[in-house]
């Protein structure tokens, strides 16, 4: 066990965990931030996507010891009132079915739009390809990303 001070959603948080613990489980088991989801544990499904210094990153294979002073943003910290343009677009298009993967999808989409405010269809698909939606809401997700890119 070791103590780590993490910068999460603009707040310093201290945790005492094994250094090999992935950020996913630090968030969920130790900090009560459960919006970041467990799906596969091997960075294949994208359900655990967070922003690490603004870049979409899989939290399930990111060890707590490797984070240092980097800024972590989770779905809970994406916006104060759930009104990030991507969140609003998701509601407008009524994207979710079961909803489980959507936090990860939103985190990947918002990181994409930060870097590329007007992505083409192909750019959206390439950026989002690491995020599986088992319910098959892919066409709606693309529509929502495009809607968000206009705002």
């Amino acid at each position: 066990m070791a103590t780590f001070t993490l910068n999460i959603n603009g707040t310093k948080q201290e945790v005492d965990v094994d250094p090999s613990t992935p950020v996913l489980w630090v968030l969920r088991d130790h900090l009560n931030l459960v919006g970041t989801k467990y799906g596969c544990g091997i960075a294949q499904c994208g359900a655990c996507t967070i922003h690490l210094n603004g870049t979409a990153t899989r939290a399930c294979m990111l060890t707590v010891s490797s984070v240092g002073n980097s800024e972590i943003t989770t779905i809970e910290g994406l916006s104060e009132n759930g009104d990030h343009p991507v969140q609003k677009a998701w509601l407008e298009v009524d994207v979710p079915q079961c909803g489980y993967c959507q936090a990860g999808q939103i985190m990947t989409a918002s990181a994409l739009l930060d870097k590329n405010p007007n992505p083409s269809d192909e750019e959206i698909e390439m950026a989002m390809n690491g995020n599986i939606c088992r319910c098959g809401t892919y066409t709606r997700i693309k529509k929502a990303v495009k809607l968000a890119s206009k705002s």
Binding site: D29, G35, Q44, C45, E76, Q87, C98, I132, G136, T139
Partner: protein
């Protein structure tokens, strides 16, 4: 206007109950209008028919509807309350929807599955809303001393025009609680609907996009430990022994033990299907610590029954396809002599592998078992059956078992089966502590209850004019016999023979979104195209010809057929028009139509140019599911179902080597992704005012047929073996 009775015999479907804080509370039997088969009725507990849905009109005019049905992503939590609100005549913005728990003082039995929630709840949901509205009107009539017939309602406001009286529902709610429940209530005419048929957004949408705790895995309680299981590495193996001493002393680990989930002689429910008798549990402070211990733990297993491989399943199913059955499932005319006289015969065999459900949220459940009671919380589609096994396994009366449901991160049939609930309960009892059982993705994918592996052989005979004169289908599946003998083209061909076999295997299987239809539809609809080609006819027109036959001159007793040929032809005609079928788009197109879960779906799929596995460019989809409650969400289900069908038939497979699953996570088990999904989807509903039918499953099966027919046009190859990505069929012709 339709009048419906609020009780039949002694069985009350509606009752009003008191509420200390004022207002009106109506209890109703959510599924009471369902016309069940005798088998279904026999399998249900007596309490089924008691009240399980509630609506409350508060003094402030806010309406709370308690939705008893589990939400697995099919959006019933939004659409079912819409039906109540419609008949109540209340503004949707003033409705709050709450998920009801199981087995408290007021709610009793609940179930989700088979795309039946809306179909079965339709009448009772309307009845509940209409009854409350009636009682509010009566209360207003008494207060204003006017006739209730002269009072109108709109958006939660009662108005008596002649006297100029007007009041919100909230003002009359407490008085309405004293009005007697009417014997009979009037339902609205379809033309008067103002909520049903309009787009309403997911009631949990904001919570989902902001990452609020909604799912079973999000449950964290004071003093809760995490538990994981280790199950046999292969089907056909069982626990032998282990040395857990080293692992027990790992950081954060509380205990490691072997336990029996299903001891010999314990009474099981159908929802226990796929459950493994003996497991190892690892219990610790956190998920990661349990995962680390799991990696280090060495358990010894021994062979218990045959080690089966995919090659065995394929060979054994192929052998069955060569064997006639003793009693055919259905036989019309004489196929043998018809084949002798046929001008042309077409014959093909199609197959598909096992599939895992792979809900994005792996199986999990919270359990806190004390000598006094068992508190269980998590994602399960069949709580009332699971509860019985929990009671039997813990040695506690059913009354002491409380199961609460969370929103589910996907179902697809997987959460009909709840051995993980029993496992959680046993682990909690043993630890004497609250625990959350968490399956790793690998545990989830390798545990079973798979979609069975299937093979089917079709043989069709055509006369010299290209008319279909004979149809023979023989199907086989692992632990499942595949064939729906009374579905199309039964009734549309003079000589018809349907035979079905089941291969018993120890790889456990279960219902997977649109059971059986998820394979047989694609195979049948691809084969119909082969037959149409042999007949020299347009594939869509060939299908319509067959439906004409079933409409005008059906073979056998038309009541024997599962489908209505006019509605079937209706969706084909609609999709023909919308896709402008027959006009040269220059792109490869395929068509398919299928009936399942009481609904009819036809699709035209158009592919992009190029490649061995060209991507789907456009889909036109026509759906007849009767009245559509919430078109926005209904389209979502239809779109998702098609992507599900296209994805699994193209990319996914679960294979076995000596009983060991060869795919354990999403690195080797391929699911469809963004860049492979259809680019454009258009959904069209038939507007016929018929009572609503299934929506969560029916769009999946035909998508596989339309895709394989389009692939043939694009590549010149007939794809017979799923997943298509691994199939390298020869060029035809």
């Amino acid at each position: 206007m339709t009048l419906v009775k609020t009780k039949i015999g002694r069985r009350a479907f509606i009752r009003n109950t008191g509420l200390a804080s004022g207002g009106l509370v109506i209890g109703f039997s959510w599924l009471a209008s369902c016309k069940m088969t005798p088998e279904q009725v026999n399998s249900l507990p007596k309490e089924w028919f008691e009240l399980n849905g509630f609506l409350k009109v508060g003094d402030n005019g806010m309406v709370t509807i308690m939705s008893p049905n589990p939400e697995i992503g099919q959006n019933v939590k939004t659409s079912m309350p819409m039906i109540v609100a419609e008949e109540l005549d209340v503004a949707w913005k003033n409705v709050i929807v709450e998920q009801a728990p199981l087995n408290t003082d007021i709610f009793t039995r609940q179930l989700a599955g088979g795309s039946q929630s809306i179909r079965q709840g339709w009448e009772s949901l309307r009845m509940a809303g209409a009854t409350a509205r009636h009682m509010l009107k009566e209360a207003a009539a008494q207060a204003w001393e006017v006739s209730a017939d002269e009072i109108t309602t709109k958006d939660g406001v009662l108005t008596h025009e002649a006297s100029g009286n007007s009041a919100g529902y909230g003002e009359m709610a407490s008085a309405a609680a004293n009005i007697e429940v009417p014997e009979e209530v009037a339902l609205k005419d379809n033309g008067d609907f103002s909520i049903i048929g309009t787009d309403k957004k997911n009631v949990d949408g904001e919570k989902i996009v902001t990452g609020k705790p909604l799912f079973g895995l999000d449950v964290y309680k004071e003093g809760m430990l995490t538990a994981m299981i280790v199950h046999p590495p292969a089907f056909g193996m069982k626990y032998k022994g282990m040395n857990a001493d080293a692992v027990k002393s790992m950081p954060g680990i509380k205990d490691v033990f072997h336990f029996e989930v299903y001891p010999e002689g314990i009474e099981k429910q159908w929802s226990d299907q796929g459950g493994i008798a003996e497991l190892v549990a690892i219990v610790g402070n956190s998920t990661w610590e349990c995962m680390q211990a799991k990696k280090s733990l060495e358990v010894e297993w021994e062979q218990d029954s045959t080690a089966e491989s995919t090659s065995y399943h394929e060979e054994a199913l192929a052998e069955l396809l060569e064997k006639p059955t003793e009693t055919p499932a259905r036989k019309d005319g004489d196929v043998d002599s018809a084949f002798k006289n046929a001008a042309k015969i077409v014959e093909s065999t199609y197959s598909a592998p096992y599939l895992a459900h792979n809900t994005m949220e792996p199986m999990n459940f919270f359990a806190h078992v004390t000598p006094e009671k068992a508190e269980l919380l998590g994602p399960i589609q069949t709580p009332e059956f699971t509860e019985k096994t929990v009671a039997a396994r813990l040695g506690m009366p059913v009354e002491k078992i409380d199961i609460m449901m969370t929103r589910m991160g996907g179902g697809f049939g997987r959460r009909l089966y709840g051995p993980f609930v029993i496992e959680a309960a046993v682990i909690s009892q043993k630890m004497n502590a609250p625990i959350k059982l968490v399956y790793s993705r690998e545990d989830d994918m390798t545990q079973g209850t798979y979609r069975p592996s299937y093979k089917v052989k079709f043989k069709a005979g055509l006369d010299a004019e290209g008319n279909l004169i004979a149809w023979h289908v023989r199907g086989a599946g692992t632990n499942d016999d595949l064939i729906f003998e009374n579905r199309f083209p039964a009734g549309a061909v003079d000589n018809y023979l349907a035979e079905k076999h089941s291969l018993q295997t120890n790889v456990t299987t279960g219902a997977w979104r649109a059971p059986r239809s998820n394979f047989i539809a694609g195979a049948e609809q691809a084969f119909i195209d082969e037959v149409a080609e042999a007949a020299g006819k347009d594939p869509l027109d060939f299908r319509l010809e067959l439906f004409d036959r079933a409409i005008n001159n059906p073979v056998g007793d038309p009541k024997q057929n599962d489908y209505d040929p006019e509605r079937y032809a209706g969706v084909l005609k609609l999709v023909k028009e919308k896709a402008n079928w027959g006009s040269e788009s220059g792109k490869a197109r395929g068509v398919a139509a299928y009936y399942c879960h009481n609904s009819y779906v036809a699709q035209v799929i158009e592919l992009e140019d190029g490649g061995d596995m060209p991507r789907v460019d456009n889909i036109w989809c026509a759906v007849d599911c009767g009245i559509v409650i919430n078109p926005l969400a209904a389209k979502n289900q239809i779109e998702g179902g098609m992507i599900d069908g296209i994805g699994h038939s193209t990319y996914s497979a679960m294979t076995f080597n000596d009983g060991k699953p060869e795919q354990t996570n999403f690195d080797r088990y391929r699911l469809i992704r963004h860049s492979e999904a259809p680019k454009n989807i258009e959904v069209f509903f038939v507007d016929n005012g018929i009572d609503p039918t299934g929506l969560g499953e029916p769009s999946l099966p035909p998508a596989i047929g339309a895709l394989s027919n389009a692939l043939y046009k694009a590549t010149g190859r007939r794809y017979y073996k799923q997943p298509f990505i691994n199939d390298r069929p020869p060029l035809v012709g």
